[in-house]
Amino acid sequence: MPETTSAAVSELLARAREGDADALNRLYEASRPWLAIVARACLEEKLRSRVDPSDLVQQTLLEAYRAFEGFAGRTEGEWLAWLRQILLRNAVDYVRWFCTAKRGAGHVSLAGADDRSAIRCEPTADIPSPSEQAVVHEEVLRLAQAITALSDDYQQVIQLRHFEQLPFDEVAQRMQRSRPAVQMLWLRAVRRLKDLMDERC
């Protein structure tokens, strides 16, 4: 794995905007693990088996790549908020597509089409919502990378406890294990994560 975050995201952004293709690529590679985590978090479990989160990430990066010119932000926070917004729209799209596909209708019906003709389409680039403007440290991307390198069990327990913010009782239920077993798993996951982060320093 290339050491993707050695340059700060804001610097990569600036260089990418000047047409540095390499910087743009590194930007996307650095953001991929983080997006993967967001993707996993936003797809419900039963959907995750049907929609591959990595497809969602791939598609998001592809769209972001094409639309990069339209992105006006400068900071890492704005960048991630933008990517996240694209990903979430794609997720909604996917879910909708998945639900229609399941109903057996390949196409969306045309009925009642005309009364929704005035769909408002915001420019997607520069209006992250307040919660999305939280300060983002560069470390976040590195941590995301480390998390995606964990085993599936570890990733799942971290996702449930931290990203879905469930108490351990519920985590245990979801993972169909006892509460002490899940807590032990969690502890190991955190320690392993710590090791991974130390290695990369």
């Binding site: 926070g77 596909a101 045309l110 089409a113 997607t124 470390e139 931290h162 710590k194």
Partner: protein, 557 residues
Amino acid sequence: MNDAEGDTPLDERALAALDAYVDALQKGERPDRECVLREFPELATTLTCLEAVERLAQSGVADVSAPGVEARHKAAPLSPEWPSMGVWQTRVDFGGYELLEELGRGGMGVVYKARQKSLGRVVALKMILPTQLPTEQAVLRFQAEARAAARLRHPNVVAVHEVGELHGQPYFTMDYVEGRELGAVAAGQPMEPRAAARLMAQVAGAVEHLHQHGIVHRDLKPSNILVDQEGHPYVTDFGLALACGGDSQLTQSGMIVGTPSYMAPEQAAGRRQAVGPGADVYSLGAILYELATGRPPFDEPTPLETLVQVLEGEPPAPRTLNRHLPRDLELVILRCLEKRPEARYPSAGALAADLERFLREEPVEARPRGPLHRLARWCRRRPALAIRLAAALIFALVAHLSYTLIQQVTPLRHAAVLGALGMFAAAAAAFEWAAARARNKILVPFAWSTADMLLASFILWITHNPFSPLVVAFPLLIATAGLWFRVRLVWFSTALAAVAYTLLTATAQPPSEEAGLWHHHLIFVAALLMVGTVTAYQVWRVRALSRYYERRPLPGG
């Protein structure tokens, strides 16, 4: 990377402290780090790590549920902030067009409702899914579609206005038809037969127009036929259209394209050369079948099973599904659905003409076929029953012949053999009847297999002859069980056969020359197990293929 350290257990209190720490972080509080460290100094790095994880969570991972949550549970109607268009095209300006709404997407294309700014008219704009990196093949196929469609002018064909390219994104525009897909109009209910005939006569006329311009649609199905508010149908989506005799580079791969339920057998078989206008005639017949009966001719749970049925099966006679269907219309449908293209209507125009004849209440051209053809059709519809009846008949003939010529058998035993064969046939008929009606579709094949095995054992038992070539019935029945495509059923039959054979040989008195050669039986049982294994393996392979198609729906679907 110290696994020994990684496994050091923590005492309950330390764990509880960590948990409380995480809870506090998640509530947005600032927990007292020093306080925890005073009691558990070894947790310093763990706390740092947890803080980092929570920062990651707050970087946009944890609150994803906010907008996504309805979508996670159901396909909620999308609010204006969440248009169904992929994000990058939400720059709704597309050249001289303004994209208004996504109308639908297929295997590789997406169709938008769009306003042409210069003329102020509303059109349908189709492009390759912008989220996919289009392969060269996809672009070629897309351009072929545009070219094919641009040549057509027919009141029942969606007209193409403009073919173009914007920022390397090929697109074309066509009439926007205010209406619904035929599939939505029919909605799984049989249509009034005359209305269905009237509609399909127009569609067949449009398809004839395509054919006259050298275009085979190849993907006719209810969702590719739009019906406007006056009830006029329009043929659309030439995504798979192939110019007859034209450069067919696009489908060199022989890839199966199309929707299996409406696909002609020659197309399902991937015989590219054989796919001509006749394939469209078949699809028209399949659509008419669905309009007349409320279901497509073949509608199996998986695409692969549907393909198999299209290739060799026979759909239920339309009139068994809709009693009110006129006999003539059924004849028209069945003629379209003939397996051999030569046996169908020679052209879509001929089909349209015959439908017109039906509408004028004149006798139709399609005639009932001869008894042999009807027998063949019946056999295709009920292959399991047909093969058993044939087997019973052949065995009965041979048994009777040997009885009259050789006369080694007592009349009583002969009657018993014939009776058992008769029961075999009757059981087959009963199971066929049950299979069509049973709620538990899985039980029937198991019961059927068991009955077959029992009757075969019975015949061998009353002939006292588990040492004759007749034992070939056992491997035969195992192979037959494989035709249900269930691995477990194959194992089940294998086990039954092995048990039945063992019991027979243990109880029967061997002829003198076989006495003491017990290892022959071992060889035979081993061979039975091998037959079972091989059959099960082949079934497993077919099912693996089938699952592959399930996950990757055929393009165009």
